[in-house]
Amino acid sequence: MAAVANPVEQFLRSERIPHIWCPGCGIGTTVNAFARAVIDSGLDPLKVVVVSGIGCSGRVAGYVSFDSFHTTHGRAIPFATGLKLANPELTVVVYSGDGDLSAIGGNHLIHSARRNLDIKVICVNNLVYAMTGGQSAPTTPETANTSTSPYGSFEPDLNLPKLLDAAGASYVARWTTYHVKQMERAMLELLRKKGFGFLEVVSQCPTLYQRRNGMGDGLESVKFYKEHSKVKNDACLDDLAMDKIGEIICGRFVDRDRPEYGQTMREFYQNKLGAKYRAPEFQDGVLV
């Protein structure tokens, strides 16, 4: 066979594959789209950094060959904040799950979007806490059965795109693991967008969500997403909450230009302080 390779391979820590994700899990699918988006972007991969929190999706950092950080539960965004502010040349991608980013890390999600710091958040939303055994998450659709809502959930779920829009994100989109081409396109847009970007990928957890809710395996889940999703870029954000069996509205919901935090900060101080301002400077890789 000729000299071609799987496009994702160059961005994998191949010695660590096979990964720990279950058969039919959607997380690996999102990594395929991410790898292709990085290629499409023309970014120097050596300047792309992936930061994850804790959970199944949090393991992405351990499988990609970019400089990568597997941080603490919910705190990928603040860690990424330090990385990006200390070295603005880095393209900082936060790759984590719905529980990590929107529950324990929800405060950081809101405030990072508010600041509009230039980090790119990929939220793999599998609707439950998967790593710990399928407990309810803020994103669990009302009525869904989980290991901590054994009679069905009665809590309303969190509408992530609406939250991110309200908080001020520059870019907000949602796709499912069925929409691999659109996902790749959205990741490319995310990488190119200056400011805080948020991509929600609705993904299956066949082991703990779909099976428990009688929705079949990984394949059945992707078919479900095909049948139940609707692309609506101009959707009213109020309509984006998900229920267990209803429509999943996908698309690019927010794409706007707001002043980016790091650049704004540096320009602000330069203007305020004039000659007294001193720009950050590296010597031998260390800020001096």
Binding site: N6, L12, P18, G26, T29, T177, V180, V222
Partner: protein
């Protein structure tokens, strides 16, 4: 002659069959054979139909398959 081909890393496969289902030209089927982990990996059943679109590669959660285009002489492009 086929416009494309797929490459399968059998030992990475976990047998989810997503590639089989979403191949637009129905090139693949799950094999009856087992791989080293005990899963049924896909194999090519309609090689001539492969367009090399790499949709299988985009879906595969296990980085176990990808598609690529072939040129006139049947070499990868």
């Amino acid at each position: 002659m086929a416009k494309g081909a797929v490459h399968i890393t059998v030992d990475r496969c976990k047998g989810c069959a997503i590639c089989v289902e979403f191949c637009p030209t129905h090139v693949l089927a799950l094999s009856t054979a087992f791989n080293g982990k005990g899963y049924h990996p896909p194999h090519v059943v309609n090689a001539e139909k492969c367009s090399g679109c790499d949709l299988c590669g985009m879906y595969c959660p296990d980085f176990a398959i990808y598609g690529f285009k072939l040129g006139k002489q049947g070499v990868a492009q």
